[in-house]
């Protein structure tokens, strides 16, 4: 990429999922240096002056108008519907078909750079997983559950475009668990609770990133623009049950055998938002990422450690008393 002269016009970056805590942080870091356009499917986001904000669903026709109105140079696709938010069909439409439409629009309007926020869930949690999983490991999540099919398909789709359309400069990021103030993914909701379920006899190692570190990682990778697939994870590890204690949660032991039992308990008690039946395996077996490719390629290191991450959840509970 040629370096821009001071007189060059600002690049326009469209960020999806702008109502979420990660996208908000990415937008805050890009704002000023770039012209940012915020898009969300949940609600119209209140943004700083100079940031146009749209409420639109990616797989609906209105989405194209944004591309027609603004000359978009780059897209950062963070917006995703979580499994506890809609039905499987609605999720598939929004996440997979929405992403396909986004990529097609990027081609049509000659967008020069696309960054896609994926998840470590795509690797699948299994007893046979090696540790330090590389980016080229097979994505086995759909073997574990149909509820992660959309995550895997979204990735496959993005990968096809990555190789077929190099002009899109696609970067796919697979972060480990992202936590921090405002984060509404299932792990963050779980650790915000006073009581957290744990599977008896299982405490898989996990990796955690602070949402501010993830936002910084995305901005660093965006500015460097080195297309490819990257795990984003620190080289620090903690067992799940230890993380639960560190976050000030009381442990609620759940019988782990036979394997169908905890799934049954989770669905009967409607723990869909924080301990969903389809994620049970991730609380049983570790999915440890090798994040060295990303760390070395972009000379990035997380600046907050595990204690910084957990202390937010601890303090949150103290404040509630």
């Amino acid at each position: 990429m040629a370096s821009r002269s001071p007189a060059a016009p600002k690049k326009t970056v469209l960020v999806t999922g702008s109502a979420g805590s990660l996208a908000k942080r990415v937008i805050a870091r890009l704002h000023g240096k770039y012209k940012v356009i915020a898009v969300d499917f949940r609600h119209k986001v209140e943004t700083d002056a100079g940031i146009p904000s749209y409420l639109v669903e990616l797989h609906k026709r209105g989405f194209e108008d944004i591309f027609a109105t603004h000359k978009i140079d780059a897209v950062i696709h963070i917006g995703r519907i979580f499994a506890h938010e809609k039905t499987r069909q609605q999720r598939y439409n929004a996440n997979v078909l929405g992403c396909k439409r986004l990529l097609e629009l990027c081609r049509k309007y000659k967008v020069g750079q696309v960054m896609i926020h994926s998840t470590y869930f795509v690797y699948g949690a299994s007893a046979w997983n090696p540790a330090l999983i590389d980016e080229d490991a097979p994505l086995k999540a759909s073997e574990v559950t149909q509820d992660l099919v959309d995550s895997v398909e979204l990735e496959s789709l993005a990968t096809i475009y990555l190789w077929k359309h190099p002009e899109l400069n696609i970067t796919i990021l697979r972060p480990c668990n992202v936590l921090g103030p405002g984060v509404r993914n299932s792990m963050s909701i779980l650790l915000s609770r006073k009581v957290a379920p744990v599977l008896l006899g299982f405490s898989p190692l996990m990796q955690f990133l602070h949402v501010d570190d993830m936002a910084e990682a995305m901005v660093v990778a965006f500015e460097a623009n080195k297309p490819g697939i990257y795990n984003v994870a620190p080289d620090d590890y903690v067992p799940y049950q230890e993380a639960v204690s560190q976050c000030g949660c009381r442990r609620l032991p759940v019988l782990s055998v036979p394997p169908s039992l905890p799934k049954l308990v989770a669905s009967m008690l409607n723990w869909n938002a924080f301990f969903p039946p389809y994620l049970i395996n991730y609380f049983k077996y570790p999915v440890i990422l090798d994040g060295s490719l990303f760390r070395d390629t972009f000379a990035w290191r997380p600046r907050r450690n595990l204690n910084d991450i957990f202390s937010y959840y601890r303090k949150q509970k103290l404040a509630a008393h």
């Binding site: 540790a131 590389d134 405490s203 450690n305």
Partner: protein, 277 residues
């Protein structure tokens, strides 16, 4: 008060197992760990110390292990420790681990490759990981060798550990995986002939159909429920280096070289043994 009492007992057991000697040994093993004391495979120093304390007692007092050639285990750098497998329970792996961890020529944390069904067993999977055990996946081995770790491999797998007493000290079929790892990652092989573990749990029959039903690799009929106190002899051979082979046939030939050396080391152990128990 009851919980205070049990805490006290736990602390006392820990204090009696983790002697200053064990503390000093583990402290001298160079091992990078995360902020909560774990490595990517779940190894945890505190759990390791406890288990090493208990295993050291078994090593010294119960199995009265005699080890020769410990100077052959390099004190730093990647290495594959290759042994003959026996005794139904993985006692041989534990004893080789203790020998490496208490090596006067430079203590090492030697990682054992565990069976793939262990992670599915509650508590046991996490516990074995905390001791340094990992499932025998080639990706795990490759990553560990790249990090200059020492790995214990029994290439016979369950064919060796589950064999009957009648077949004692006969090497079963070896997988070639360890040789590929040694060649690709330029890791020397230190062979170890293990004598005595066959006599800890002599099996007269294997209830294969019931084992299959229970999802176990084998289910032996053994006269003793617990391992018998057989004397164990460990003979470590000189490091063997292998250059990349042109074909799988050549790899198999190199594996045969290791097997021949193992047979020789087993013979040394059998000859020095004066009594079984």
């Amino acid at each position: 008060m009851a919980s205070l009492g049990s805490l006290d007992v736990k602390q006392r057991i820990a204090a009696s197992l983790v002697t200053p000697e064990i503390e000093a040994l583990v402290a001298s093993i160079p091992k990078p760990l995360g902020s909560f004391g774990y490595d990517p495979w779940g190894y945890n120093e505190d759990t390791f110390k406890l288990a090493l304390g208990a295993a050291k007692w078994l090593y010294d007092k119960y199995f009265r292990v005699t080890a020769h050639g410990l100077e052959n285990i390099p004190s730093t750098g990647r290495v594959l420790i290759i042994g003959n497998h026996s005794g139904q329970l993985p006692m041989d792996g534990a004893l080789v681990g203790v020998a490496a961890a208490t090596n006067p020529h430079g203590p090492r944390l030697a990682r054992a490759m565990i069976e793939r069904f262990f992670p599915t067993v509650p508590w046991l999977g996490n516990f074995l990981n905390a001791l340094g055990g990992v499932i025998g996946d080639p990706v795990n081995c490759a990553k560990m060798l790249d990090m200059d770790e020492a790995i214990i491999v029994f290439p016979e797998g369950v064919r060796g550990s589950g064999k009957l007493y009648a077949k004692r000290y006969q090497l079963q079929r070896f997988g070639n995986g360890f040789m590929h790892l040694s060649m690709t990652h330029r890791a020397p092989i230190v062979p170890v002939g293990i004598v005595g573990c066959e006599e800890t749990m002599p099996a007269i029959a294997n209830l294969a159909p019931i084992a299959k039903l229970l999802g176990l690799p084998y289910l032996p009929i053994v006269p003793s429920l617990l391992p018998l106190p057989a004397r164990v002899y460990l003979n470590f051979g000189k490091p063997m280096h292998f250059s990349p082979a042109a074909s799988e046939t050549e790899v198999t030939e190199q594996v045969e070289t290791v097997k021949a050396e193992l047979r020789r080391l087993i013979q040394v152990g059998l000859e020095e043994r004066t009594s079984l128990y």
